[in-house]
Amino acid sequence: CARRPRPRVLLKAPTLAEMEEMNTSEEEESP
């Protein structure tokens, strides 16, 4: 009989707004 697939691990993602914030602060930090 077929093997049961292993459950996939949920990858946590920031929201679009959080990504925007992270991106902005990275740009500010870079010289």
């Binding site: 697939p5 996939r8 691990v9 949920l10 990858l11 946590k12 993602a13 679009l16 990504m19």
Partner: protein, 394 residues
């Protein structure tokens, strides 16, 4: 004696491998610096498929950091390119198509049975093995909504300068110009006689161009329908608002021209197979306003006919048009105060909106129905023009 040994090519499993340090180059060549024209003649939404194949390999080697990093860089790259080209319809439509396709791929190959009903056996082999990307799907869905809104804003900005001129001022019906209300002839808006005068053909040409671009780029047909419903609503709102504010266009002849223009737009929708979009329904108040301009406005029977016909116009709008209505010549009478009172009395029980003008900036909520692809990943060819030689087929 030499024996020719034929090396069997390893089967391509539809995955693309890259070194972590090449991620920035991948995003640059495939997202931020890519010109949609470079992909003419290739599979629509090729960048989305390539990105999925890279995600799939990172999933295959169970590298969660690589998946996180690639998805974050992709999303930031798309946002960057949209910001840079925030008035470019083609570019925005291109990234809407690709973002939606990537979202569809993450569903189709998620391993969730609900999204696999149309998959072939081969496609089922291409599902993600280790990670559940549900949260990233939400981010891509939110991003798709943002891109859709940008696309509508660009299209509206291109159409808006044409609307009043093309819908209300331009006369394409022969002989109508002589039937303009007395005293208003040649007194329409300053745009009409200047360089910015547009005819309906200009609107239709522009919409043909929007439609061809979106279809060529493989944008989901359901989204294309929603774009046109939104654009037709905006055309209706801008035209009706102008009609409600300008006495010189509230005449029988403008009603006639307007009805003709609307029928041309309806015919265009049918010709492009867009009549199921709901666009015609959004034009209903304008269709009724054009009819109201043409109907007789004298007897109680006329009042009854107007009330039963103009169901998509508010009482305030009907009364305003009747008040503004300008007779063609000395033989046609003005609408009497008594007639308007009869109308008001008949419509008293209607509980309709109090506002006179339509909100031309109103946006219908957009939906992105799941649209799986029949394409299998191992059949996708990466053209040399993409400069992605550093990707290894696995």
């Amino acid at each position: 004696r030499q024996v020719a040994v034929q090396r069997k090519e390893k089967d391509f499993q539809g995955m693309l491998e890259y070194h972590k340090e090449d991620e920035a180059l991948l995003i640059r060549n495939l997202v931020t610096e890519l010109k949609p024209q470079a992909l003419a003649g290739t599979v629509p939404c090729l960048p989305a498929y390539i990105l999925y194949m890279c995600i799939r390999h990172a999933d295959y080697i169970n590298d969660d950091l690589k998946v996180h990093s690639l998805l974050t860089s992709t999303i930031n790259g798309i946002k960057k390119v949209l910001k840079k080209h925030n008035d470019d319809f083609e570019m925005t439509s291109f990234w809407l198509s690709n973002t939606c396709r990537l979202l569809h791929c993450l569903k189709q190959y998620s391993g969730d049975e609900g999204f696999m009903t149309q998959n072939s056996a081969k496609q089922n082999e291409h599902c993600l093995k280790n990670f559940d990307l549900t949260e990233y799907r939400q981010v891509l869905s939110d991003l798709s909504i943002q891109i859709y809104q940008q696309l509508i804003k660009i299209a509206e900005g291109m159409l808006q300068p044409m609307i009043v001129s093309a819908m209300l001022e331009n006369e394409s019906i022969q002989g109508l110009s002589g039937m303009k209300p007395t005293g208003y002839r040649k007194r329409s808006s300053s745009m009409a006689d200047g360089d910015n005068a547009y005819c309906l053909e200009a609107i239709i040409r522009q919409m043909n161009s929007f439609h061809t671009t979106m279809c060529d780029q493989g944008l989901d047909p359901e989204i294309v329908l929603q774009v046109f419903k939104q654009l037709f609503y905006m055309i209706t709102a801008v035209t009706l608002n102008n009609l409600l504010l300008r006495k010189d266009v509230c005449s029988w002849s403008t009603g006639m021209q307007l009805r003709y223009n609307i029928s041309q737009l309806e015919e265009w929708l049918r010709g492009r197979n867009l009549h199921q979009s709901g666009a015609v329904q959004t034009m209903e108040p304008l269709i009724q306003a054009a009819q109201l301009l043409q109907l007789k406005k004298k007897t109680p029977e006329d009042a009854e006919a107007i009330c039963s016909l103009c169901t998509s116009l508010s009482t305030q709008q009907i009364v305003k048009i009747l008040n503004l209505y300008t007779p063609l010549n000395e033989f046609e009478e003005r609408v009497t105060v008594g007639f308007i009172r009869t109308i008001q009395a008949q419509l008293q029980e209607r509980s309709d909106a109090q506002q006179l003008l339509l909100d031309y900036k109103h946006m219908f909520p957009v939906l992105f129905p799941f649209n799986p692809s029949s394409l299998t990943m191992d059949s996708i060819h990466i053209p040399a023009c993409l400069n992605l030689e550093f990707l290894n087929e696995v």
